[in-house]
Subunit: 263 residues, 2 copies
């Protein structure tokens, strides 16, 4: 019985999110369809995280197991060929790498953390070509205020101020965020959040709150209270899906630490 | 009776091209729908050029006339609001500017030339985020050979080697190309073609032929014959739609000359 880990990039625009759903085009569904062809059998995959409709990935991970003969290093090219729209145009999912891993290794359970990046385009007008890939914030952002506020959104604490409540949520709202790094490059502003665990919409609510602080809609000195409130209504708006990227998954604390500096 | 000129940017991915078609989403159809709301009447527009499905525009132009009261400079913002997908996401068409022009001024008939840009990403692998916006050429391109060949694709001559034949074509295959400029920036290669007139698929066939020369599939020294053959089968393949951008329309020869240097 083999166990294979794949790393995946995708443009989330045309998907109903990650999770397989009957009759809908999802990332998991597309990958399972293509991997089943290559492996000659019914393949089901476990992803590190479920992304919502419109959310992208630069390095989502997934594991799957079974009996099949295709060498792992031939999977990316073969799968990407099957995922292509036509001979002249690649698909909106790309397998970046595939490797055999020991039995028991699991894309979600073996992960020790991940980095999400939230991308903002801060200008009055944005080229249409970025509409699926950035949140266009028209008001000028005070990034100094955002950076200062972001320092209060780290550590091991209850993050329920940054969670969209859902009926089926079970588990702890205490998570560890290792770093929230804000970088500015011309009109592009990125917010990279590296943590060991994330609540539903956590990065999008953090990003929206930081935007509200950057525009002055929320006073910067309220960041401490917001984090401490453990109440969604204390935080800012939920930033839209198209700005969010699952950037990297870490399977060792060494890589996790490196990630906090890299992004 | 007012006559208004608009400049338009669009992402051609989700459109069945420029031209209005019943029951299909087209750029002209969307613009007419929105302008009719703003102008309080049935507006029809004349575009400078019809772009095919998947082809983009950085500066398409169109004119429309009628009796309406909205000031021209308020049209872009109002139209772009109506074109938006939702409050958090802009649309895939953006009106860049609008201005009143004299009666008789016509987006197509008054134009003296235009520039198209064809964009290539030259690398074995391309991020999925560029799939709708670049032609991914995997083999390394010899841009020196391409630049040399491109010099034979200019001037006033019969360009029928670079035309997809169509039954309803009437008119001359003699056109003037003022410049074919090839620029390289890392993995991005752009081919800018500035001319006074273009045949159907002319830029895409020129780009495909230059790619075939760049990969060595067509010997570089055949460029002269290809141009002189006046025969589509002498040229290379038709490069795919997603790499093509209508970049700028010129209404004066001064601007046309500037365009040949700008791109």
């Amino acid at each position: 019985m083999r166990n294979v880990l794949i790393r995946i990039e995708y443009d989330g625009t045309a998907f109903y999110g990650w999770q397989r759903q009957p009759g809908r085009r999802t990332v998991q569904g597309e990958l399972e369809r293509v991997l089943s062809v290559l492996c000659g059998g019914n393949i089901t995959i476990d992803g590190t995280g479920r992304t919502d409709a419109g959310v992208h990935a630069l390095g989502q991970c997934a594991t799957f197991s079974g009996e099949f003969s295709i060498p792992a290093d031939r999977i990316p090219r073969a799968a990407n060929g099957l995922l292509a729209e036509n001979r002249m145009k690649q698909g909106d999912i790309r397998i970046l790498s595939a490797e055999d891993v020991p039995a028991g290794f699991h894309a979600r359970k073996s992960a020790v953390g991940k980095t999400y990046i939230y991308r903002i385009y801060n200008a009055k007008n944005m080229p249409v070509f970025l509409r699926n890939y950035r949140y266009n914030v028209k008001k000028q952002l005070n990034t100094d205020a955002m950076i200062k506020a972001a320092s209060f959104f780290t550590g091991t604490r209850d993050y329920s101020s940054f969670m969209t409540a859902s009926d089926d949520f079970r588990g702890s709202t205490v998570k560890t965020v290792h770093a929230v790094n804000i970088r500015e490059e011309g009109r592009d502003i990125s917010i990279a959040v590296t943590g060991s665990g994330f609540l539903y919409n956590m990065v999008r609510i953090m990003a929206g709150t930081l935007v509200d602080i950057g525009t002055g809609r929320i006073p910067a000195d309220r960041a401490v209270e917001i984090a401490a409130a453990c109440d969604r209504s204390a935080a800012g708006h939920t930033a839209p899906a198209q700005g969010l990227y699952m950037a990297e998954v870490y399977f060792s604390t060494d890589d996790l630490v490196k990630g906090t500096e890299k992004y």
